[in-house]
């Protein structure tokens, strides 16, 4: 986000970064579809109850193939973070710095998700701080997709 921009971008990072899509075999399709509907879906084994993210075709604990997609509240705590200064993509040139966070979801088997931390990119970030999810929709992109960011709770 550039506060000097005449038309503020609705997106945390500039457009032009790779668009997330499901694999050809469709493994993660429910996850990405869920984000477009503002539903955070995480795999859970219907046999032993183990959560896992990212998705896999079988449960890593009991080897059951019967995995369900469960909607969970997008709430967690910061497990780690980084402030990125070097633009590793032309879309990020003259942008930055920006914040990426690794968020742990204690109520979902402690699975973790990577996202951006909204707000001042120079803010102090505290490991363990509570955060909640914010969906960012790219409806005009081709294909359309949605991301899940985080903000201080």
């Amino acid at each position: 986000m550039n506060p000097q921009a005449e038309t503020p971008s609705p997106f945390y990072l500039p457009e032009g970064l790779p668009i997330p899509v499901a694999e050809p075999d469709g493994l993660s399709a429910p996850f990405w579809q869920g984000l477009t509907e503002e539903r955070l879906l995480v795999q859970r084994c219907t046999h032993c109850g183990t959560w896992q993210h990212g998705p896999e075709w079988l449960c890593h604990r009991c080897h059951s193939f019967d995995l369900g997609w469960n909607e969970v509240p997008p709430k967690g705590r910061i497990y780690s973070w980084e402030r990125v200064w070097h633009p590793a993509h032309t879309a990020l040139r003259d942008h930055g710095p920006y914040l990426a966070v690794l968020v742990e979801l204690p109520h979902v088997g402690h699975v973790r998700m990577v996202g951006n931390l909204l707000g001042d990119p120079l803010q102090e970030v505290v490991i363990g701080a509570q955060v909640e999810g914010v969906y960012e929709h790219h409806r005009q992109a081709s294909p359309a997709y949605s991301l899940l960011h985080w903000k201080a709770a």
Binding site: I19, P20, H60, H89, Y145
Partner: protein, 393 residues
């Protein structure tokens, strides 16, 4: 103790490398670089290149074993092994796989090598041009977690947070590499010393990594020649015996995205015990260490996971004087390593460990009976290697 071991069974008797270049600067094709390094290693060993009967490499090296065999006119190819995984996680495993082929009787003279001309095939860190992404990177790239520094910084941050480790520990690792590179004419950063102020004022790539915490990208090739121990005793060079080798990673280390249960780790906690068990040496007996610097924070965790010191000692041990040859407590990356000699995906570290064992390094450590090489921290699989003098056997 398992009788199945490579300890003392195979030795490195030849090393060779090309000139090392900044990325994109090699005047030679990548395959030509590979052949030049292999021929140099054979020359060093006093072995005719047609006597090679196996090749071992890692990270999907493009210089294919079959093409090498044809180009060199070797009599017969008996072993061709490729370690899975990217980056430098396989730089020690390539040696181990070649040695295993020899010890099992499947080959007699194996070359392990790495060749790399990024100018000809694109750089590792480049991410522009990808329009759609799936799999692990789909959970990262749309959030600007694109290149390797960004993919690993959060592991390092968490480890430093958990153990109260300061930036000075990372700085000491970077400065050790640059210090040793000043004595090494092969080093790309020879003549480019690094001081404390320059490090501190250098730009952030991604916090907590400054510019000097990140490896270079380079063109070149490096190779070693391995033969059975009984043949090594007649070799032209002092043999560097393989004492131990191990590779792999711990429980669900590859659970993506960033879901490894033991997240703040260099992936060696299950690997290092196997390494020392095979070698029958203790970490305290290691006299000199080459530890793959993709990023200094990976070295920090890798050294600790190899039992060289505890996390609680890291701020104290990781000070420049301790890391310098000849007399430091733990001479580290004595050729300049990935940061300052050449980023040959860590294979240059294997050659430097051989030089240390021979006593021919440009920054020779006093304690050189046992030399440790650590490959590719934080990826999976990782690998490490212990080399030693005949006196250790």
């Amino acid at each position: 103790m398992s009788p199945r071991s490579l300890r003392g069974r195979v030795a490195i008797v030849g090393i060779g490398e090309t000139a090392y270049y900044k990325h994109g600067r090699s005047p030679d094709a990548e395959f030509k670089l590979a052949v030049k390094a292999i021929l140099a290693a054979c020359e060093d060993a006093g072995i005719h290149p047609r006597d090679i009967d196996g090749f071992a490499s890692f990270s999907d090296d493009r210089s294919d074993a079959t093409r090498l065999a044809a180009a060199l006119g070797i009599r017969r190819l008996r072993s061709a092994t490729m370690q899975w995984g990217g980056g430098g996680g396989g730089c020690c495993a390539a040696v181990a796989n070649g040695a295993a082929a020899i010890e099992s009787g499947m080959a007699e003279c194996v070359v392990a090598f790495r060749s790399l001309a990024q100018g000809q095939y694109g750089r590792f860190g480049r991410t522009t041009g990808i329009e759609q992404i799936s799999g692990e990177r789909a959970y990262l790239m749309p959030y600007g977690v694109l290149a390797p520094p960004q993919r690993f910084a959060m592991r390092i941050r968490r480890f430093m947070h958990d153990h109260g480790i300061g930036q000075s520990a990372l700085r000491a690792i970077a400065m050790a590499s640059y210090h040793h590179a000043q004595a090494n004419p092969r080093a790309v950063m020879h003549g480019r010393p690094l001081d404390t102020k320059t490090y501190d004022e250098s730009r952030w790539i991604v916090e907590p990594l400054h510019l000097y915490d990140c490896c270079m990208e380079n063109d070149g090739a490096a190779a070693v020649v391995m033969v059975p121990a009984e043949r090594a005793r007649d070799a032209r060079q002092t043999p560097a015996y393989l004492l131990g080798a191990a590779s792999g990673s711990g429980y669900r280390a590859g659970a993506h995205p960033h879901n490894a249960p033991d997240y703040a780790s260099a992936s060696f906690k299950t690997v290092a015990p196997d390494l020392f068990a095979m070698a029958q040496v203790a970490p305290s007996e290691v006299g000199v260490v080459q530890s793959y610097e993709n990023f200094t924070g990976g070295v920090l965790m890798a050294l600790i996971e190899h039992g060289l010191f505890g996390a609680e000692e890291a701020n104290e041990v990781l000070q420049l004087d301790n890391l310098l040859a000849p007399h430091g407590r733990l001479p580290l990356n004595t050729s300049g390593g990935n940061l300052a000699e050449c980023y040959m995906h860590g294979f240059e570290l294997v050659l430097e460990a051989v030089r240390q064992v021979r006593g021919t390094s440009t920054s020779q450590a006093v304690r050189n009976q046992v030399a440790l090489v650590i490959g590719g921290p934080m990826v999976s699989p990782v690998s490490s290697l212990l080399l030693g003098q005949e006196s250790v056997l």
